[in-house]
């Protein structure tokens, strides 16, 4: 059983009178523990693809199986549960809640899942320690550096122990050295804990680090380094 199986996925948007095909008939399989970079020019459909994989968006046609389960037909509520338990998001602009401290931001997914406070406290402390943020636990995002903010975001994405992490330009807002540091963290998750890592990026050198590259063009997969090019 593959982690992700897409078959015949189509996603169209209505833009005025014209219909834009953001994704055309995508077939894709990603195994558990893979490290995939998704590249391509703007408007090639990679963000739409990421949203679809993260169950934030629904395809117009096709089926999406996550861990063998068809998730396209699930209710919104069930999809929310899957996002909560199986998927972690890392965004380019971090998306931290500005009024909450680093610890509280990391706590968010645990709180939304309704986990008991003592268990949450333990897991947040552990995450803070793992990402070297213990000293910064009670700082708000605006008191943190860019690298620290992204570390908080990664801690938040992993605190529920998801099967897959979807990272959208995770280094886009960071300088080279900090970006490098963040990528190492994500790669460590992939190699040490076997978390499936899917990164969307413009950066060729960053894409080249992944074990598998997908290049998207005009809503279709133009090249797949795994050799299963359609």
């Amino acid at each position: 059983m593959s982690l992700i199986e897409l078959s015949g996925i189509q996603r169209t948007f209505q833009l005025g009178d014209s219909i834009v095909h953001a994704l055309r008939d995508i077939d894709l399989t990603i195994e558990a523990g893979e490290y995939v970079a998704m590249m391509g020019p703007s408007g090639s459909g990679k963000s739409t693809m990421l949203n679809l994989l993260g169950l934030l968006d629904r395809p117009n046609a096709g089926t999406y199986r996550l861990e063998g389960r068809d998730v396209t037909t699930l209710s919104l509520e069930e999809q929310a549960h899957i996002r909560s338990e199986r998927i972690g998001f890392v965004f380019q602009s971090f998306h931290l809640v500005p009024r909450l401290t680093a610890a509280a931001n990391i706590d968010l997914p645990l709180m939304l899942a309704g986990i008991a406070p003592s268990e949450r406290h333990r897991r947040v402390q552990q995450a803070l320690q793992e990402y070297g943020l213990t000293e910064r636990a009670h700082h708000r995002p605006d008191q943190l550096s860019g690298g620290q903010r992204q570390r908080v975001a990664i801690a938040r994405a992993t605190v529920m122990h998801p099967a897959v992490i979807l990272a959208d330009e995770p280094t886009g807002n960071l300088d080279r050295a900090t970006g490098e540091e963040v990528i190492h963290l994500l790669e460590a998750l992939n190699t040490q804990q076997g978390v499936t890592l899917i990164i969307v990026t413009h950066d060729q050198s960053l894409g080249a680090r992944a074990r598998r590259q997908l290049v998207m063009e005009d809503g279709a997969i133009a090249r797949d380094s795994a050799g299963i090019t359609p």
Binding site: L56, D57, E77, A80, V97, R99, P109, M111, L112, A113
Partner: protein
């Protein structure tokens, strides 16, 4: 999401924008405060009037000439002829009705009073010795007139506090002589200040024996008869007995009206209660306005926190969780505003009371609860729409905003 977490999350979200939250709470507080202060005023007026009437005595049965009372408490009733006069003899006969303890006939008129070279027009009340206790009046000086049940007695007079001050200044009036309508009367007592009731201030009254006043005015008519029943329970029995007796004495014709103090009280009580409800309703409009403000603030909040809502969805928040979080926030703000409003209202009522100590401006409990309830209710009702909007936001679009 756990309830405690939802509450904490809502609290943090609300305290994240102190100015907006503060203004919203303030507007809610003003609405609730207005309800409380206005009902305190209305209910205070009711209590004041009821209190005034009870000070006359609640075991009272009052006999008035004529079939029904339409002219109010007016000395003009004396001059206009009524079907048949009520006389002192009628009054005396009523003492034999079972349950009657005592009575005070009342004759009313105006006359010039003259003392120490000063002249004044004043209202005369002719009655007997029981008037003082039946009306619950207090004396400041001396004793009351000693006229018997028929209102006959020595030429004595009791002055109201204002009349006394105007005629005698700081001198002691006891034992002095005043001239009223050409007769000389000896001052035996002075009424205490502050008594009010039945449309007259006791300060301006002159109290004389009833027979004396009747002779002065050349009439044998009584203005009314106050009858005290032995107990409140016997009131209806006494009322019926008095009416029967009067009909019997007036050759089978029912030409008097017998009312109880209770009936008068009840009417005033009813009128003022409706009035209080009316003002409370007007004040509640400001609460509805505050409710709309809650909606507006929550809608702004949803718009400003679009990115956050998108993030929460990505992190696994269900639509229900989001809806609850926003609804709790609206409810929490309304509740806070309501509680602040209760404090504000009580403070306002306390200030009112300190300015007018005789006016019992205490907000009724129902108004406090209704104010709080309306605040919470309108906050929640008007919070539903923004909360639904937050829950329905498209995560992809919401995340795209920054």
């Amino acid at each position: 999401m756990r309830l405690a977490d939802t509450l904490r999350f809502a609290r943090d979200a609300a305290s994240g924008t102190p100015l907006r939250t503060g203004l919203l709470v303030l507007s809610m507080a003003i609405g609730v405060g207005a309800v409380i202060i206005l009902t305190a005023l209305g209910d205070g007026a009711r209590r004041y009037v009821v209190g005034e009437f009870s000070s006359i005595g609640t075991n009272l049965v009052i006999v008035l000439p004529g079939r029904s009372e339409t002219r109010g408490f007016n000395p003009a009733n004396l001059i206009t002829s009524t079907p048949r006069d009520i006389t002192l003899e009628d009054a005396q006969a009523l003492l034999r009705v079972p349950g009657v303890v005592r009575h005070a006939p009342i004759v009313i008129g105006t006359a010039e009073v003259n003392a120490m070279g000063r002249l004044r027009q004043s209202m005369l009340v002719g009655t007997n010795r029981d008037f003082l206790s039946i009306r619950n009046l207090k004396l400041a000086q001396g004793r009351f007139i000693s006229a018997d049940v028929l209102g006959r007695g020595p030429a004595e007079i009791v002055l109201g506090a204002i009349v006394r001050q105007e005629l005698f200044g700081n001198e002691n009036p006891l034992g002095k002589t005043v001239r009223v309508g050409g007769r000389r009367l000896r001052v035996v007592g002075v009424l205490a200040e502050g008594g009010q009731g039945m449309g007259m201030t006791t300060g301006e009254l002159l109290i004389l024996p009833a027979a004396t006043v009747q002779a002065m005015l050349n009439t044998n008519t009584l203005f009314r008869i106050l009858i005290e029943a032995r107990s409140r329970e016997q009131l209806q029995e006494v009322k019926a007995g008095v009416l029967k007796k009067m009909i019997q004495r007036h050759e089978g014709e029912e030409d008097v009206t017998v009312i109880t103090q209770d009936a008068v009280l009840e009417t005033f009580d009813k009128i003022l209660r409706v009035l209080t409800l009316g003002v409370a309703g007007i004040a509640a409009v400001s609460l509805a306005v505050a409710g709309i403000l809650v909606m507006n603030v929550m809608l702004v909040s949803v718009t400003q926190r679009t990115a956050e809502i998108g993030l929460l969805k990505a992190l696994g928040a269900t639509a229900r969780t989001l809806r609850n979080a926003f609804l709790f926030e609206a409810g929490m703000l309304s509740l806070l505003g309501g509680v602040a409003g209760i404090l504000l209202g009580h403070l306002g009522a306390a200030i009112l009371r300190s300015f007018y100590p005789t006016f019992p401006a205490y907000p009724p409990h129902w108004a406090v609860l209704a104010g709080l309830g309306t605040a919470l209710g309108s906050g929640l009702i008007f919070g539903v729409m923004p909360a639904k909007r937050a829950a329905r936001l498209d995560a992809v679009i919401a995340l795209g905003k920054r």
